[in-house]
Subunit: 198 residues, 2 copies
DNA sequence: GTCTATATAGAGATAGAC
DNA sequence: GTCTATCTCTATATAGAC
């Protein structure tokens, strides 16, 4: 019945991480929400650095699994991009930011292992996006100059920035940027394959 | 001799804010660096919210003065954009982030007044960039589709994202994005007006 | 695995002397 | 304006009972 406490801690901690930053939540916040004591949290994650690392690893595993699923379902490059943007948009709707943003802003306040885990997550995302863009270009779906790697980098940082500033400026900011990204990749204003999940 | 303590506090606090986040520094850190006591810091800024607000106001005033200078010197739109990018690049070099990033990530941990001040800074930056892009387009220096406001938004969020991820991924990330932004605005790979300050 | 209890340290903030 | 001294609260973490 109760190894799932660990999972509930992770889920709650992730919510807190993405809405308040790593330095903005404590074991007390987690324990309070789950109606347990802080000592129980320490049993599962002895130090906060352990918890932070676990959160980033979990996030990365989830991303890899998500990307693997899209591949299994043979989703088109355009569909992949749309799904990815939708993923980020959901964060905006939930008033959250991306864990990469948190680590970058609070870099001096997190352990080296945590920032290394963030680096791996970033590498995965960039690599995945590069493949999507390159295969989409080969299929004549996307149109852009330069290397797919360079374009993937620009798309990712643009989404990161939009995700973040949307918190101050409203979700219209995110949607405006999203439209621009599509246009810069040579897609029509409304994605032809559908899947522009709201 | 000693109203400049206030200025020294602001300068030190800004360094800490941009390198560690708002929740990542304390009055003790400031006092230690200036070799004064925390009570002296509280004299100038009774609460941390007061200090945070002052930091954002100061940042905004500096930006406005900086933009005004460029205008006085009749710097071309291309030069303005280059100067702006250089401004951000210096933050990367100093391993800092933008105050807007800090406020966005730690939004729940800052006062309403602080986030309102960040909003005003963002508005100023967007408005300034919009004018630069629009006047540059009229002078046939920039080439882009859509409104200047929409393009300004994309350029700004892209720089924000690059500034942030460069902290994890290295300054090459920032430079690659910078090159892409230039290209997307129809500029040659190397800016013709010079002023690509290193 | 979870609890109570507690240790330690740091943060934000105030009072009052100089 | 800046200091010493102190207060209160919170955060991280551990010990040991159940």
């Amino acid at each position: 019945m109760r190894q799932d406490t660990r999972q509930r801690i992770l889920a709650t901690a992730e919510e807190l991480l993405l809405s308040r930053g790593f330095q903005g939540f404590s074991y007390h916040h987690i324990a309070e929400r789950l109606d347990i004591r802080t000592a129980a949290v320490h049993y599962h994650f002895p130090t906060k650095a352990d918890l932070g690392l676990a959160l980033l690893q979990r996030y990365r595993e989830r991303f890899r699994w998500w990307a693997w699923q899209l591949r299994e379902q043979k989703v088109s490059p355009v569909g992949c991009l749309e799904h990815f943007i939708t993923l980020e948009r959901r964060l905006v709707e939930a008033n959250r930011v991306c864990p990469l943003s948190v680590v970058c802003v609070e870099l001096q306040g997190v352990s080296d292992e945590m920032s290394a885990a963030a680096q791996r997550l970033l590498d995965d995302a960039l690599h995945w996006l590069e493949i999507v863009l390159e295969s989409g270009r080969e299929a004549n779906l996307f149109h852009f100059d330069g290397s797919a790697a360079a374009r993937a980098l620009v798309v990712l940082v643009t989404l990161q920035g939009a995700l973040q500033l949307a918190r101050l400026n409203g979700i219209e900011t995110f949607d405006a940027v999203r439209a621009q990204i599509r246009q810069d990749l040579g897609l029509p204003a409304i994605a032809p394959t559908g899947r522009v999940a709201s």
